[in-house]
């Protein structure tokens, strides 16, 4: 389990991450998303349609005990992770769409996550002590909206500072996961060794299958390759640290340790799997861009080389 200091540190880091996410947004982005909601709606469908169900389905199929099931379902219900924006950037995806999906899913989370968590926990037959109270989740999410809005205001006030904070927030997301791994894995390696394969399968599969389903659903709904890849990453990459935070705020002792297993494993493996997927997507993007360039060379006057 995490010490109280670590839990507090995690809370502070989450605040900073959300501050960074806010700094990547403008109020106008939201208004555009509402005016032209298609991309974001598809994103939400993947985020809250596919992922929670996938978490539930894996828990049932693999016959996970309640402590693990609730961890997995919670993981599935989480909004998009801010690290998805970095991976999208590196995979040459549609950054604006990724940022929009992350932020809208985070906003919607205040309502969607408690409701979905309740629904799937009941379906999976999780009850009593292992149930995560909906108010807890809603509370955490509302609190996290404060730094998000502050970040947006910062962006509006000074675009330079906003952009720097945005970058730092994104990298902090990775740092937090590394921090979790660094502090949690050494103390629990015995647990890791004794963990049966279905748990690993669930923790890794949630992200990987989520990315696959996200991609194909987006393709099905006639999004182009690049947008589909972006939606795919966004779907598969959940806000792991947020799940860890909610678990540590809800449970204590060995119970916390058990529930925490899947969110931590997920966070550990998602960094690896999404790095591989990003590498693969980047190659695809570049090939497509090359083919496009070949089809229409020199479309724009002043095709000067890309800046940052």
């Amino acid at each position: 389990m995490l010490t109280e200091l670590e839990t507090k540190l995690l809370g502070v880091m989450m605040m900073l991450i959300m501050f960074g996410m806010g700094a990547s947004l403008t109020f106008r982005d939201f208004l555009i998303a509402f005016k032209k909601p298609k991309g974001v709606l598809i994103g939400l469908l993947c985020q809250y349609g596919i992922m929670p169900f996938l978490g539930y389905a894996l828990a049932v199929i693999l016959g996970l005990p309640p402590a693990l099931a609730v961890g997995l379902i919670l993981m599935g219900c989480m909004p998009g992770g801010t690290t998805s924006n970095i991976f999208t950037y590196f995979s040459k995806g549609v950054l604006a769409l990724s940022i929009m999906m992350t932020s809208v899913s985070t906003l919607v989370a205040v309502v969607a996550v408690p409701a979905l968590l309740e629904l799937y926990s009941n379906l999976a037959g999780v009850s009593g002590a292992f149930k995560i109270p909906a108010e807890n989740v809603a509370q955490v999410l509302v609190v996290l909206l404060v730094p998000t809005v502050l970040g947006m205001l910062l962006r509006k006030w000074n675009a330079n500072i906003g952009a720097v904070v945005e970058l730092m927030g994104g990298f902090l997301g990775v740092v937090v996961i590394l921090f979790l791994i660094g502090s949690w894995v050494p103390r629990n390696y015995q647990l890791l060794l004794s963990t049966p394969w279905p748990v690993y399968f669930a923790a890794i599969g949630l992200g990987v299958i989520g990315m696959l389903l996200g991609y194909w659903l987006a393709r099905l709904l006639r999004q182009d390759n690049n947008r589909s890849r972006t939606i795919s990453l966004e779907t598969g990459i959940q806000n792991g640290p947020l799940a860890v935070l909610i678990v540590t705020l809800t449970f204590t002792g060995t119970m916390q340790q058990e529930v925490l297993l899947i969110p931590v494993l997920y966070s550990l493996f998602i960094v690896i799997t999404s790095s591989l997927v990003t590498y693969f997507y980047r190659g695809r993007s570049e090939r497509e861009a090359l083919a496009r360039d070949q089809a229409k060379i020199g479309t724009m006057i002043g095709a000067s080389p890309a800046a940052a």
Partner: protein
């Protein structure tokens, strides 16, 4: 001559908004530095240039800073590296804060500016630098490697490197540099001997203090007839050559552009978006010079591709003016964010470079609520020759009427004026017309006859006395506003061992106005399209590359063996117009 008088009476005068005379007071300044310094003093504390990167990071220089830094650069050129007045100095950068600093410094030093496209290949750079006799070069760090390979084959003795992020706040600068260097890998390591622009400015500032130099001594005696700029162009005949534009040419053209826009320009209060490259004459005169004179804040966009790169600039600043080409406006109109939130404060847009499509103009005006006025011009005329008035009669498929103080005639092949409604070559006389081509007496004499600039463009004057371009006299291809000369492309293709011969024409293209198409006869059957395209990429800048290569067994020719491009054009047009089978 009867028809002579038709054009010479300037029947279009009634369309001039200001009084209808077409007369203009001469520029107050004798040379560009005088104008620049006057603006720098008048608007000293205001933002002059803000370079905006795709993620919204920015760097800003005030009028006072630009003034001081360009003074330092002038001293660097004259005292530190010892250039003489009239020496040619090239600037080869995308739009960034170093661009105006370098350009204004060169002009203040009494040197001659040579604008150079940063995407030029080594071969194109070498030709231009050697032809102009360039002694010093301000170059973007991204292309230092290209210069390194040809440096010894030119007379360029001093290279100053700048970055897109030069003069940005320190943290932001480091982040941008880091991303460029380690992630995008666009900054090559190079052994090219150089100074950074910061070092050059520091040396200049030091020398200025030590030697107590009054920079105005470099430019005080420059007159309107003195050379300011060599702007390279294929001209109307094909070989790349430098149009000699004087301080007077450019100063007059600024006033001519202002005469069109004055009603919608508040001195010291405008924000102009410069997405077109400043090394191109359109943005050079219309955006850089004209709006500096007006005390505007100039938003410099290093790369407008993808078009989304403009989003943060539109969001974070109240853009009141924008210039662009058809491709740029069209691309913006296809962006969700732009159509959902068109710039509220936009007063007007200027289109040029290539023919605007009237559908794009109409849609732009509907979306933004501000007029998009098309201008017509060429490198040889600084560039503005004709424009659409911003108010009054609007015709979206016309280039409008001649600029103030500009005489225009439409003439036949014998130089005789044609009747109203008849097509004829546009010839132009006015204070914006160049001196001639640099070291090209013969080409100059062909292009400027009896004081008239022969444009090679065919136009008609309609019943409202407005002009409309109908065709180009020569085979020049215009891809998104850039001139492509079939000769040059054919030469490049023909350099491939497996090519027998080639003919290049322009075909209409929805995106670029025209696209380059090559018809090639193989010498060796193993030649593939990909192989030839790769070969072309080593010799030609992107916009000159053939969009399509078609292999043929033979090319249509005249009896004496001259390839008939016009037959190929006719055939290509027929193919596009034929209904799909």
């Amino acid at each position: 001559m009867k028809q002579d008088s038709l054009y010479d009476l300037a029947p279009w005068s009634r369309h001039y908004t200001s009084g209808g005379t077409g007369k203009l007071a001469p520029p107050e300044s004798q040379n560009l530095p005088q104008m620049l310094v006057a603006a720098s003093k008048a608007f000293a504390a205001q933002s002059a240039f803000t370079c905006v990167t795709p993620n919204g990071m920015y760097g800003t220089l005030t009028y006072a800073q630009v003034d001081q830094m360009s003074d330092d650069f002038a001293v660097y050129l004259r005292e530190v590296i010892g250039l003489k007045a009239g020496a040619r100095v090239a600037v080869q950068t995308p739009n960034c804060l170093s661009t105006p600093v370098a350009i204004f410094g060169i002009l203040k030093a009494g040197c001659v500016l040579v604008n150079t496209n940063p995407l030029y290949t080594e071969r194109e750079m070498k030709h231009q630098f050697n032809d102009a006799g360039v002694e010093a070069l301000v170059l973007i760090d991204m292309f230092a490697d290209k210069m390194a390979t040809i440096a010894r084959e030119t007379n360029v003795k001093h290279v100053v490197l700048c970055s897109v992020s030069s003069f940005f706040p320190p943290v932001v600068r480091q982040i941008i540099k880091g991303i460029q260097k380690y992630w995008n890998k666009v900054i090559p390591t190079t052994n090219l001997a150089h100074l950074t622009i910061n070092d050059a400015l520091a040396k200049g500032a030091l020398a200025r203090n030590d030697l107590r130099i009054d920079v105005s001594q470099y430019w005080k005696r420059l007159a309107q007839n003195d050379l300011a700029l060599l702007q390279y162009t294929g001209g109307t005949t094909g070989v790349s050559k430098g149009a000699m534009l004087t301080h007077g040419n450019l100063l007059w053209n600024i006033e001519q552009i202002l005469a069109i826009g004055r009603d919608k320009i508040d001195m010291g209060r405008e924000t102009v978006l410069t997405a077109l490259p400043i090394y191109h004459i359109f943005a050079f005169t219309a955006n850089l010079l004209t709006f500096y004179r007006c005390g505007a804040r100039n938003l410099l966009i290093p790369s407008p591709r993808p078009i989304q790169n403009l989003q943060r600039a539109f969001e974070n600043y109240k853009v009141t003016w924008i210039s662009g080409v058809n491709t740029l406006f069209n691309a913006l109109l296809n962006e969700e964010w732009f159509v959902a939130f068109p710039p509220k404060h936009l007063k007007a847009a200027i289109g040029g470079g290539a023919a605007m499509h009237s559908a794009v103009v109409k849609r732009w005006e509907a979306v933004t609520g501000a007029p998009l006025a098309e201008g017509y011009g060429l490198t040889e005329s600084s560039p503005a020759v004709c424009f659409q008035p911003l108010s009054g009669l609007r015709k979206t498929d016309s280039i409008g009427i001649p600029a103030h103080e500009t005489a225009v005639r439409l003439v036949d092949d014998n130089g005789e004026p044609v009747a109203q409604g008849e097509p004829g070559e546009i010839i132009v006389r006015g204070p914006q017309v160049m001196l001639g081509y640099w070291n090209q007496a013969e080409e100059s004499a062909k292009t400027i006859r009896d004081g008239w600039l022969y444009t090679g463009d065919i136009a008609v004057m309609d019943s409202d006395f407005m002009f409309k371009i109908v065709d180009r006299k020569k085979d020049l291809i215009i891809v998104s506003g850039f001139n492509v000369y079939p000769n040059e492309v054919e030469d490049a293709i023909a350099k491939h061992d497996k090519v027998m011969e080639a003919a290049v024409i322009g075909v209409p293209d929805a995106k670029t106005g025209e696209a380059v198409r090559a018809y090639v006869v193989k010498r060796d059957d193993s030649l593939t399209e990909a192989e030839l395209a790769a070969h072309c990429r080593t010799l030609l800048t992107g916009y000159k590359l053939p969009a399509k290569i078609i292999f043929r067994d033979e090319l249509p020719k005249t009896p004496i063996g001259k390839i008939l491009r016009k037959d190929l054009r006719k055939e290509a047009l027929a193919a596009t117009q034929a209904p799909a089978a």
